[in-house]
């Protein structure tokens, strides 16, 4: 029997597979397909201080090997998430929860993270400084090392639970951003968020997305994610939650070999509602095949 358990800053996960924020709502929809307690953890929908409708439609465009989304952080707001969504999820789900927090100002990040931290239902605070689909917020915090440092430090000051900063790949040097997180006191890193992209409708001669640009996800971005995880693992001594185009148990192992302690699955959930469950069911089989007895032993194993 192989061992699949991993630990993120002391939070125990039975396996390293976590559905990524924004692809799993607050879990209820997937609970209609399978028992979501098989998951290592859940990263819930990105949350802001105020309720947000998000961007106008169309919000989705397909691409070769993936998709663009420009949902724009549609969410009911932190108060409702803490008072209603998380307790509702807890009625059907007992494993770790990552609250995913975004914001448009330093105050907003701090207030939302403090509220998420105070909820008895959360285990890790994932700070999203990397959403490419909101203007004057999200990614604009995550592309400047000084801003990232400030957000991390301010959030750490109000949180008792582990703080993981979710990084944008839309930067020249992800290592300098990762270092800024470490200096700000981050307990870990999540990478990568989506890559900013665009598609045009050649008949209408206009962008497909109403927001013009969107975030690229899906298997097309997997090699970019592996490369960035590799680089950050080499340079910064923090646990990494890897993500970006993961579709299979083999992808999970590849990302962990690059340096990830756990792995999030995003767009694959949308194409196949059973994606996470199938990866989890397959993981021990692939581990046996590759002669891996304990998955923890392969973290960063390719370096």
């Amino acid at each position: 029997m192989v061992k699949t358990a991993v630990s993120l800053s002391g939070i125990q996960l039975e396996n390293p597979v976590i559905p990524a924020s924004g692809t799993f709502g607050f879990g209820y929809e997937f609970a209609e397909w399978y028992d979501i307690n098989c998951l290592g953890a859940i990263s819930v929908k990105g949350t802001t201080r105020e309720p947000r409708f998000g961007n106008p439609a169309p919000r989705i465009a397909e691409t070769p090997g993936g998709m663009l989304n420009a949902v724009g952080l549609q969410n009911p707001g932190i108060d409702k998430v803490v008072a209603e969504e998380l307790p509702r999820l807890r009625q059907i789900y007992s494993k770790p929860i990552l609250a995913n927090i975004s914001g448009f100002s330093m105050d907003e990040f701090v207030e939302c993270c403090a509220k998420a931290d105070a909820s008895p239902h959360t285990n890790i605070i994932e700070v999203n400084v990397s959403c490419p689909n909101v203007h004057h917020g999200g990614m604009s915090f995550g592309t400047d090392p000084n801003m990232v440092y400030n957000v991390t430090k301010s959030v750490k000051a109000v949180c008792h639970k582990p703080v993981y900063v979710k990084l944008s790949p839309n930067v020249t040097d992800i290592v300098s951003i990762a270092k800024a997180c470490k200096e700000g006191g981050a307990d870990g890193l999540s990478l990568i968020n989506t890559l900013m992209g665009m598609r045009l409708d050649i008949k209408k001669r206009k962008p497909i997305l109403a927001n013009l640009t969107g975030g690229l996800s899906g298997p097309a971005v997997f090699p970019v994610a592996v490369r960035m995880i590799w680089q950050v693992y080499e340079a910064v001594n923090l646990p990494i939650i890897g993500m970006g185009g993961v579709q299979s148990a083999e992808d999970v192992i590849e990302m962990m070999l690059a340096g990830a302690t756990a792995v999030q699955v995003g767009a694959a959930n949308l194409a196949n509602p059973y994606a996470c469950k199938e990866i989890i069911d397959n993981l021990p089989i692939v581990m046996e095949r590759l002669g891996i007895q304990d998955i923890k032993e392969i973290i960063g194993g390719a370096h």
Binding site: G22, T23, F24, G25, E29, F30, E32, W33, K45, F53, G54, A57, P58, R59, I60, A61, E62, T63, P64, G65, G66, M67, N69, V71, Q74, I208, G218, P219, A267, N269, L270, A271, N272, P273, Y274
Partner: protein, 243 residues
């Protein structure tokens, strides 16, 4: 909602660019007319959401229009092809609101879901009448199938090559119907909304990510709050629609 493997039994051209596909598989998750299925295609990342034209135990019929590479791929499929399909998606039409003489209006690719709806209404002893809208006569499909149900069918074509010349609203009676059920392009839905004098249910289309409510890719605003076209929709009540 259910995921299942379906086998193509029939895939035939009904009109230029319009095909009927009959598939064998488990349809038990489909709860009523107006729902859709989401079809995985080889080499395409996202599934293709297609409305249900008709279904019975073990049999699913879809009528689809070739609008892109995915549906083009479908049009070339032969009997025996196996497809991974999510069924029972979306909130369909509510039959209880029909009254005795509901009016069903389908435009182009919005015609197919009207078929199962008409069949169900007839089986409940209602007397639906149907208006089908097309651009031109050669695009016509399903008219005989509707007539075989014993419902009155009016055809409207934009170029006047068949039936009433103009849009479906030009073929709409001023009154005499108890409820509106419709599906079609958004400008058509809006025109029907403006002209109709009763309550109604309107089926909308939107680009979707997942098709089952997870990604928030197809959210729209309604008078009763945000709704996901794939989940609380695609059918919305007339009274809640915001244009």
């Amino acid at each position: 909602m259910k995921r299942g493997l379906f086998t193509v039994e029939v895939n035939e051209k009904l009109a230029p660019g319009t095909f009927r596909m009959v598939l064998a598989g488990d349809t038990s998750a489909i709860t009523g007319p107006g729902q859709f299925v989401n079809i995985a295609l080889e080499g395409k990342f996202l599934r293709r959401p297609i409305s249900v034209c008709d279904y019975a135990e073990g049999s699913l019929t879809i009528v689809y229009k070739v609008v892109g590479k995915g549906t083009e791929q479908m049009s070339g499929m032969t009997a025996g092809t196996v497809l991974d399909i999510l069924t029972g998606l979306g909130n369909g039409y509510d039959l209880d609101k029909s009254g005795q003489t509901p009016l069903l209006i389908g435009g182009g690719a919005g015609v197919p879901p009207m078929y199962n709806l008409a069949r169900k209404l007839v089986s409940q002893g209602k007397q639906p009448s149907v208006i089908l809208g097309f651009n031109k006569a050669e695009e016509l499909f399903l008219k005989e199938e509707f007539e075989a149900l014993g419902v009155a069918v009016t055809v409207a074509t934009a170029d006047g090559s068949l039936g009433v010349k103009g849009f479906v609203t030009d073929a709409m009676p001023a009154e005499g119907y108890t409820h509106i059920y419709t599906c079609g392009p958004e400008p058509m839905l809006k025109a029907i909304y403006d002209k109709s004098v009763t309550s109604g249910q309107f089926s909308f289309e939107e680009r979707m990510g997942c098709g089952f409510g997870a990604c928030m890719g197809c959210t729209c605003k309604t008078k009763y709050g945000n709704k996901r076209i794939c989940r609380e929709g695609p059918v919305l009540e007339k009274e809640e629609i915001i244009w």
